[in-house]
Symmetry: C2
Subunit: 351 residues, 2 copies
């Protein structure tokens, strides 16, 4: 089953934006510049173990079956061995396979940046790189999803699909159906602002109403259709009109101090749209990249105040600065990340 020439492999899976305003549990897109690394190492000792968790999150569950990377690998081994793991720890897999995982978290906990999905994706992709006959990437989706479910409590594939495939992805509500990477205009940029607060996905789900007005559901439907049409056709004007969450954001924004001001700052800087990334608290906005270079600093320039980058800076950079400043006015520290929407998914690092 395994290659004889390689005993360990490391994969880097990117962070991602879930929901993308109009595709609740459905759309996601990858982010360049933040991700989780997982190293899978074959071991003589049977079973799946987590050796270490490093990086910006260290309080992950030690129980391998409750860790998204561990649960994903257990599911994958069970699938490869054509039978369920005989106990929840994975230690009792039919054969004597042993896998040790080292997880390096680059994605903050409960940030709305798809960290649990990224760890699960990186883990199965790292393990896959050790197989004598690696599976095609889409075949890894159900295993990564089986890992994600231990964190989110539901079969929500929006972050898993984006982290695995890259770019903008469409997943199914039915976990047995495979996701799709959609075409998007190359000039789309995402500005993601991560405020230093945590929102648990369970809390963000509990705040949602059980029912929504039919007119809201129909409006959300329309926005989703036009967003997809705009991405397909490269029509930024259609995307601008459609990247508006009528259904979820009105309820969840109460969980994010200063959300309205941050959103307004994005729109004031020409955002095509701005909403909550996944369950929050991160906020994302889409922009059309312009080709203006960063301004050279005039000789007489003073040190700029936050939120006042020179006017010639590319729009996403100026917007990011203004959005961070808006959080600051609400006493929330925040950091920005700027990424193409059409960026790569998971990658195996060179041996």
């Amino acid at each position: 089953m395994f290659r004889s020439d390689r005993k360990f492999a490391t994969a880097l899976a990117p962070a991602s934006v879930g929901n993308v305003a109009v595709g609740f549990d459905l759309l996601g897109h990858a982010l360049r510049g933040a991700g989780d690394w997982v190293t899978a190492r074959l071991s003589e000792q049977p079973g799946v173990r987590i050796l270490e968790v490093t990086g910006c999150v260290t309080e992950l569950p030690n129980d391998v079956a409750k860790n998204t990377a561990g649960a994903a690998v257990i599911a994958m081994l069970a699938g490869l061995l054509d039978g369920p793991a005989s106990d929840s720890s994975g230690v009792g897999c039919k054969t004597e396979v042993g896998v040790e995982l080292s997880i390096h978290k680059g994605i903050p906990m409960s940030s709305g940046m798809g960290g649990s999905a990224a760890s699960a994706v990186a883990a199965v992709v790292a393990l896959n790189a050790l197989l004598a006959e690696p599976l095609p990437i889409l075949k890894l989706y159900p295993y990564a999803l089986a890992g994600e479910v231990v964190a989110s409590g539901g079969w929500h594939g929006d972050n898993v699909a984006a982290s695995l495939l890259g770019g903008l992805t469409l997943c199914h509500q039915n976990p047995k159906k495979l996701p799709l990477r959609l075409a998007v205009p190359g000039q789309l940029r995402c500005v993601l602002i991560h405020p230093d607060i945590q929102i648990r996905t369970a809390e963000a789900r509990a705040i949602l109403p059980r029912e929504v007005p039919l007119s809201t559901a129909v409006g959300q439907n329309a926005n989703l259709a036009w967003l997809l049409a705009g991405c397909q056709s490269g029509r930024l004007d259609w995307i601008r009109g459609a990247l508006v969450d009528l259904m979820i954001e009105p309820h969840r924004r109460a969980l994010i101090p200063g959300f309205e001001d941050v959103k307004q700052a994005a729109l004031d800087h020409g955002a095509l749209g701005c909403s909550i990334s996944g369950a929050g608290p991160s906020v994302f906005a889409w922009f059309a990249a312009d080709s203006q270079p960063l301004a050279t600093i005039p000789e007489q320039a003073t040190i700029p105040e936050q939120g006042t980058l020179p006017g010639q800076a590319p729009i996403p950079e100026r917007a990011a600065d203004a959005m961070v400043a808006a959080f600051g006015r609400h006493q929330v520290t925040a950091t920005a990340l700027i990424s193409p929407v059409d960026c790569p998914g998971v990658q195996v690092l060179p041996a």
Copy 2:
């Protein structure tokens, strides 16, 4: 403003399927084989008048402003003359323009086949053919929509867009935004069954709930996204999974006697999906056209009973027969129409 060489023109606008199961007030597609003809004729006598209404509907409003074709032409003249009509009859348009309309209805009243939209579309396209500088087709959309609104009571563009542009179309909730014709697989066929009962659009709207479960709205969103992806990619399996109306059909089906049996008959014959056309009562189903020829009749063949066409007939034909028979079991007379989904929109007839 008008051509000097042509005093009248006739346009044929096709019937259409509104909503298309998952795109309430949003998606529509044209149908080949049923339509409305409108002749527009320039007159010395100022104002817009309806000369005659013939065909399968004759009880249309005589008041030109309450007739969809008349209202559309009034709106178009007002737009061309760069000002609103000075009274609702259109008689008092700024200039001395006179237009007489003859309407031939090929689409039954209150059938859910987009008859009011087709009359409005045909009328503006016929008038456009008389202009010295005809407008591009998309510029006619707002005028046809202004006609449709007098029949439906709301700015619902799904039938207008389909009848105008042909094929599968996506419109906006905002009437100022223009619709789009979407790519669809050429082998898609629509079987439309028109039962001989009437449902008024107002009644069909009144039966809808004010609120829907969030999970239903999210599921409908998913189906819409996958239908669009399936049409774009030519993936019939995605279309099959997605052409399911979770939101509207469960409420409206009660208005159509035998609906469940008709739908089951379609699905039993391999339909990709089956739902209500527009506000009903017509029922539509999508099929993948197969290339099998109609069976030759063996010499010893007996006269087939309804619902038992020879097994070698193309699937849509056999399905249409079974769906009509299913209505029959509920004492409802019905007729069938089979059309490509990707069929032409409105056409101007040769002079």
